[in-house]
């Protein structure tokens, strides 16, 4: 709230899947930006989405909640979501501590 968080989303149109690369910190301040971006990308009808979190520097519980919601939605709307694991230790820690690392559709290491 007090300081601007470093955050950036880059979009790569790699058919058939759309790829979004997220760098910076995914927290309660920035999660809304990502949500809106994803919403726009999915507006034309569900398609495959590849969310690249490799360069993510931090993720808090609001970021995690977003991922869970997005995964739920992909299954409901029947499109494919895949997530590239963050390299960052703290972000990895959140995924491991919550069981999200096994429950969410992460790509096997080295596939990105």
């Amino acid at each position: 709230m007090v300081r601007p968080t470093k955050f950036e989303i880059r979009e790569h149109a790699t058919e058939p899947a759309l790829k979004l690369s997220v760098t910076g910190e995914l927290d309660m301040n920035t999660v809304e930006l990502l949500a809106r971006h994803v919403e726009r990308s999915l507006a034309d009808g569900p398609r495959a989405l590849r969310l690249d979190l490799a360069e993510l520097g931090f993720m808090d519980s609001s970021g995690l909640r977003f991922l869970i919601d997005l995964y739920d939605r992909s299954r409901r709307e029947d499109w494919e979501l895949s997530i590239v694991r963050p390299h960052d230790e703290a972000a990895t820690m959140v995924l491991r501590a919550t069981g999200a690392d096994t429950a969410l559709p992460f790509e096997p290491d080295g596939s990105s």
Binding site: M1, V2, R3, D27, M28, N29, F58, D60, S61, S62, L64, R65, I68, D69, D72, E89, A90, M93, V94, R96, A97, T98, G99, A100, T102, A103
Partner: protein, 704 residues
Amino acid sequence: MAPTLTEQILDRAPDAVVSMDQGGRVTYWNPRAEEVFGVRCEDALGRTVAELIIPDRHRAAHIAGLERFLADGTGPLLQRRLEIEALRADGAEFPVELTVSAVRDGDGWNFHAFVVDLSARKETEQQRDLLVEELRVALEGSERRFETVVGSFSDPVTIRDRQDRIVYANRAALETLGFDSLEQLRSTPPGDIMADYVVSGEDGRPIAMEDIPSVRIHRGLQAEPLLIRTIHRQTGAQRWQLLKSAPLLTSAGEIEVTITVIENVTEQKRAERQNVFLAQVSAELASSLDYEQTLRKVAQLAVPDVVDWCAVDLLDEDGDRRPVAVAHADPKRLKLAEELRNYEQTRLNPNEGIGLVFRTGRPVLYPRIPDEMLVRTASDERHLELLREVGLRSAAVVPMSAGNRILGAMTLVNAESGRVLDDFDLKLAQQVADRAAVAIENARLYSERSSIAHTLQQSLLPEQLPQIPGFELASVYIPAFESTEVGGDFYDVWELEDGWMLIIGDVTGKGIEAAALTSLVRHTMRAASEFESSPAALLARVDGILKKQRARSICTALCMRLFEDRALLAAGGHPLPLRVSSRGVTRVGDHGPLLGGFSDVNWQDTTVELEPDSILVAYTDGVTDAIGADGTRYGLQRLCDTLAQFRGRSATEVIEGLTVALGEFQIGSHADDTAALVLRRRGPWNPERDQQDASEAENLAVTE
């Protein structure tokens, strides 16, 4: 507080409005400013006012002035109208009229400048100078010819001789001065004409005969055009007039007479002052949620420029009047008002003044208050004496209302200035009252929400931590700084047949939904703990219930079942607790999935030994996610380092130490809720036992 109220007004202002921060950088640039300076808002924001609109030669003075204001609070430019040149984007300079006000914003200052483009007005003035020049030529011919030129001229024109007598006035001037014929005017001594008016300058200071430009010229002094405000003592009518005079010389070069053109700028001046005043009011109202304080400042802004007295009364829930502000430029006269208001408070006439406005919700205007009215209103001799002493001349009361509800009233009174309040003033007062009403309503809603949130939050945490035999317990809960929302962190401690249960958790989300979810989780755990002895099983129960909720409901929780010398614990997506013992700080337990989020999941119980004097610290991610001044997060390593310093201390000392360390680390307030629960097993150190456990310990020396 949203700036929308101010910005809405400023966006539509007929004048250019430019705001800057105390570094001199543009923070606001309204559409009119785009036109006037030829710079678009997005290009102006963040650049300095100095480089954008101030010509080279004034730049140093601008920067020095700003520095001086920040250093000692004095500003020669503040709240004064100033004519100066400004710079356009194309490099051209043009004349502007400038008013600057300073508004405190937290630790810093914001400055708002209202800029009127004078280019067009200057041109008119030049034409008027030409006219005076022509008149001078005309007068050198015959008086008849002069009358032909000037007589029907719509602006008042007067000629004054060396004895300060007005020897000529055209029809417009006669009308303005209130005379039927030139003869009548000529036979009136000049001092008497002036004595019919209260005359003041732009800054409110009185203007004497010697200050009038035509009189100054006869004294051989410089005579700049003079803007005056006149208030007719009898009628209370007020006018703004710009006096421009020029000498008419004899062939010998001596000053024979002076000719004066009087421009009536009343409408223009009142509109200008209204804009500046409203903008100041809006900025003030938007600056704080303490509306009583703000209303006092607004009343203060109104005097003496707009009105002599300004008072604000609120109508409370019981229908009683509560005075919150009364302002007058002279503090000595304020005492009168205080005494007077005691009278009025005891007797609020429902058919008069504030009483009437409270009853009907409609504004009332008393353009003139005759003495009979004072006699009628007064409740006793002293009251009448006071009313007469104030010198009530004209009054207006406008309601402050939100929808159909009347929140209060604003009272404007003119006394010693002799001004009569008219529809224009009433409209202005109503605009101020409307803005004030919105501010009051916002502040009330905000404080209501805050107090609901606070109450709800209280109900989600245990009122008091229980006493657990053989243990010490302490906790801290720091809500996120936006206090109108209920946070998502919770903890609870309760007794079972054969021990105690401690939980701490975090539901994602905020507000009423989060509160409902927290309540659900706590009650499910409490109820299930009656027959389910394993923490892992408890988490599974909650997980099942959360998955049945209609709205997505996920939460993290740490569940600890406490026995005499050990705890059985299970974590559902929650940070693992830290144990502080003679062997250092170690993380204990195993990670399990968060609750309500995933299918086909299960949890494990882990046994944690608690030797005497060891401490178990459970916390929410608000602790480790706290952001420091350098942008880094507090993190697990810092938390461990801090806790290591409190080894062997009481639970309360640990909580206090952690709170202080977090406070020192963070910039500003907590962005997220933060909760921590500290449990200490009482008793002396037991070195032998410590030695024995050392081999199993997982030392937490590095971050994971």
